[in-house]
């Protein structure tokens, strides 16, 4: 060994649990590789079972790790080195990270079980499970990594996996466009992450979060306030992209082009959760001076997305807007410094949002089957199977999906005895504690009502009343009746997820989250509702929303709100996309065009140089031709005359040759004899 290569004190040996955790990480990577390369060579059911059982194994291992971890244990090894400079990879196992691991693997397991049936007959099936595995492994990477550098890597890989999965049905033009849009919005936000990473590395010398935490808390490295604020702002900006916050959130509704299980995973556990997760991990980097940005962005996002959901008819997009809105709550929580509340809401939201997506997916699945069967009967339903205006009456035909939906719905709008109520109360309470955030608090409270409104509306249109598609195509009535209930593989995840939304699952106190027992409390839940008035207020607002929706929904006519400019504006994402188009994309293309011309100008300049050189050559050639060559030609002409006169002597006759010889001989004699004188 080289004596100069000393052991870096930063490096830490690995614990046994780390190898288990690494196994959890590498299992989906392995699945990805195996399934990607075997492709269509193995059957659909084999592929599904393999992927699902791997995720099941991961879930069990995660539970084991979570239950084994007591105090945070960290491993750190050198990933690569440049001389004595090491780039380290760290892994932290704490109750926080491992509980997140459990949440992600649990939801992934549900989604896998669900997908086995849901994706069975779909095109391109051979790619679905590998992409899903990639998605999950990247997410686990974010959860476990202790180094921001590594987090960034998995962060981008999550983006890649979402790109592949959103564009899964690549033949649909919209799907390809949505995938590109999602990736580009994320990439734009990621540049902020790159810059933040560079600044952190420059000013702190490491990107290991545990080390950074120690450095900052001990104030051993003094960083200019401006830099510290910029780092925080940049980190927050980058999470706005992944977690779909204003103004980056416009990619999320479009991302509904992907298969429904993907949406469930993306909204519940992986992609949008990643941003919140990173913010919670980097909480100590978020300086006080900029936290208001988080609160305000969260409040604005929550409100705007909720408003957009009011007039939305796409069953999945409504849920997408609700996700954006709920993530806004989490942002607010982080902004107020109550990261545990954010984390709590993240966990509860993961379950009930997955449940919502899967139950809605079950309905869509049925709709899809109705459409397919109609095709068989030569009835072509040229309709959007996601449109809630065409649904209805599924309460009777699909009771399991309905009740699962209702449970998750209750959790989302914040009905007591459901998990969502607890977590939302905690966030609202922490907002209330800071008097400067009274306006955001008001917005958040308003959003609670709006959420209740649009979710009730969706419930009403989807499950209650009559089957409205049958009004257009009467034969569908029969079809709906035929499909009684979904496959058990779809129903089991629905039942499990519905159970997890009950508040007993996390806390025995139905109105207060302080005695949370959910597995091991990952973070101490601070706050909770301090006054009795807050729950009352929020519950009443929720009830108002529900009742309003009930009364409005029954009266709401098909296609009747579109003429108002406000709703048009809302449905166009408040003009954000237009603004992006005008401020970034069109200028980009103009710049590209312009620079291409500039390139041509440079080229022209180079060519002009070449032409000038050629021109000069021609001028020189002309001089050469008329001046120098003229003189030469004259000489040649003279020589030719002399030559031809001599040549007349040399006509091939011996005598001519002799005469020449003799002349020369005579001259030589002349010369020789002169010498003798």
């Amino acid at each position: 060994m080289n004596p100069l290569q000393h052991t870096d004190p930063m490096l830490l040996p690995a614990h046994f649990l780390h190898s288990v955790a690494l196994t959890i990480f590498f299992l989906p990577v392995l699945t990805f590789v195996i399934l990607f390369f075997t492709g269509k060579h193995i059957s659909t059911s084999w592929r599904s079972w393999l992927a699902t059982s791997v995720v099941g194994l991961m879930f069990i291992l995660s539970l084991y790790v979570h239950l084994s971890v007591d105090v945070p244990i960290i491993a750190r090894w050198s990933w690569f080195s440049m001389g004595t400079l090491h780039m380290t990879s760290g892994m932290v196992l704490s109750s926080f990270t491992t509980s997140m691991l459990v949440v992600v693997t649990a939801i992934a397991l549900m989604v896998h079980l669900y997908s086995m049936e849901y994706m069975k007959d779909r095109r391109n099936h051979s790619k679905f499970f590998p992409y899903l595995a990639l998605f999950i492994s990247a997410m686990i990477g974010i959860i476990l990594s202790d180094s921001l550098f590594n987090i960034f890597i998995f962060w981008e890989l999550v983006g890649l996996a979402s790109y592949l999965l959103i564009g899964f049905w690549y033949q649909k033009k919209e799907a390809a466009a949505a995938a590109k849009k999602a990736f580009l919005y994320n990439k734009a936000a990621d540049t902020a992450f790159v810059i933040a990473l560079g600044l952190i590395f420059t000013y702190y010398g490491t990107t290991e979060l545990t080390l950074l935490r120690t450095l900052i808390s001990s104030s051993s490295i003094l960083v200019p306030t401006g830099i510290a604020i910029s780092i925080a702002v940049l980190l927050v900006l980058s999470t706005f992209g992944k977690s779909a916050q204003f103004p980056f959130y416009v990619w999320l509704p479009d991302a509904m082009e992907g298969p429904t299980p993907v949406s469930a995973l993306l909204h519940a556990a992986t992609m949008v959760a990643a941003g919140i997760l990173v913010l919670i991990k980097c909480d100590f980097l978020l300086v006080e001076q900029m936290r208001w940005v988080l609160v305000w962005t969260g409040a604005i996002t929550a409100l705007l997305a909720a408003i957009q959901a009011i007039r939305c008819y796409d069953s999945k997009k409504i849920l997408a807007f609700s996700t954006v809105s709920q993530i806004g709550y989490m942002m607010m929580a982080i902004g107020t410094g109550n990261t545990s509340a954010a984390y709590f809401h993240l966990g509860t939201h993961a379950f009930f949002k997955a449940g919502l997506f899967l139950s809605v997916g079950a309905v869509i699945h049925t709709m899809h089957h109705i459409q397919q069967n109609s095709f068989k009967n030569k009835i072509y339903l040229e309709v959007d199977t996601l449109d809630i205006r065409l649904m209805g009456g599924f309460r009777k035909t699909m009771p399991i999906a309905f009740y699962a939906y209702v449970a998750c719905y209750a959790a989302l709008i914040g009905i007591p005895f459901f998990t969502g109520f607890l977590s939302k109360e905690t966030i609202l309470a922490s907002l209330l504690q800071n008097p400067t955030y009274s306006i955001p608090f008001g917005m958040a409270l308003t959003t609670v009502g709006i959420t209740a409104y649009y979710m009730t509306r969706q419930l009403y249109w989807m499950f209650l009343g009559d089957f409205r598609l049958a009004a257009l195509y009467p034969s569908c009535k029969e079809e709906q009746r035929k499909i009684k209930e979904n496959h058990w593989l779809i129903n089991i995840p629905l039942i499990v997820l519905a159970c997890t939304t009950l508040s007993f699952f996390v806390s025995f106190h139905p109105f207060h989250a302080s005695d949370i027992h959910w597995m091991k409390a990952p973070l101490p839940i601070v706050g909770g509702s301090t006054s009795i008035y807050l729950p009352i207020a929020s519950i009443s607002i929720t009830l108002i929303g529900v009742l309003l929706a009930w009364s409005m929904a029954s009266k709401e006519q098909l296609y009747n709100w579109k003429q108002y400019w406000f709703w048009t504006f809302v449905q166009q994402n408040y003009g954000i996309e237009k603004a992006v188009q005008f401020v970034f994309i069109i200028p980009s293309f103009l710049i590209a065009r312009g620079l291409t011309y500039l390139d041509k100008i440079i080229d022209m300049w180079v060519n002009a140089q070449a032409y000038l050189a050629v021109l000069l050559a021609h001028i020189v050639y002309a001089i050469d031709r008329f001046l120098i060559e003229g003189v030469l030609k004259g000489i040649v002409f003279l020589i030719r005359i002399v030559g031809s006169s001599f040549r007349s002597l040399i006509q091939g006759q011996v005598q001519s040759y002799i005469s020449t010889t003799l002349i020369v001989l005579a001259l030589m004699f002349w010369w020789y004899l002169r010498q003798l004188h």
């Binding site: 005598q655 005469s659 003799l662 002349i663 005579a666 004699f669 002349w670 004899l673 002169r674 003798l676 004188h677």
Partner: protein, 174 residues
């Protein structure tokens, strides 16, 4: 003017005159005859210069050998009187300048260089000395010359023989 000088002039005129005849005649036979006269004149000039032996050799070799050979040549290449009669093209008269150039060189450059030789032994015979030198000092050279002559004769014979062979082959073909 001594007798010798008279003879000298006489034979000189004979030699040069005959040469002039060769230059101008159109008849080859006349030319051969004129050549004979010219060579005889040269032989006489040799004798006048005290080279008796050379004069004899001149007559034997030239008149006996070369001239006869030339006559054979004339006979062999005889075509027709028309072709036989040739004319000198006017264009070629320019060539006369070239010999004159040599004469000029001689007169202007060479003659002034000549030493005036005083002859102590007026007209003493050189025959004896010639014989002695032939067989002593110049013997190897003459051996070589003889050998050269042999080679030349063989060569000439060979050249001639190819002609004969060609004739034969032609005859056979016909």
């Amino acid at each position: 003017m001594s007798n010798i000088l008279f003879f000298f002039i006489f034979f000189s005129v004979q030699t040069i005159g005959s040469a002039v005849v060769i230059l101008f005649t159109r008849n080859v036979m006349y030319a051969v005859t004129a050549l004979l006269s010219s060579l005889l004149g040269v032989a006489a000039l040799f004798v006048l210069a005290g080279a008796d032996v050379l004069g004899v050799i001149q007559i034997i070799v030239y008149i006996g050998g070369v001239l006869v050979l030339t006559l054979f040549g004339v006979m062999y290449t005889y075509q027709s009187p028309k072709r036989y009669q040739e004319s000198i093209p006017h264009k070629k008269s320019v060539f006369i300048l070239i010999p004159l150039l040599f004469v000029l060189v001689l007169l202007v450059q060479a003659l002034p260089l000549l030493p005036m030789i005083d002859d102590p032994y007026q007209h003493a015979s050189k025959v004896e000395v010639t014989g002695m030198l032939w067989l002593t000092e110049y013997l190897p050279i003459f051996e070589w010359i003889g050998f050269l002559l042999l080679v030349v004769l063989i060569g000439a014979g060979w050249i001639g023989s190819t002609l004969v062979q060609e004739d034969k082959s032609k005859g056979e073909q016909v």
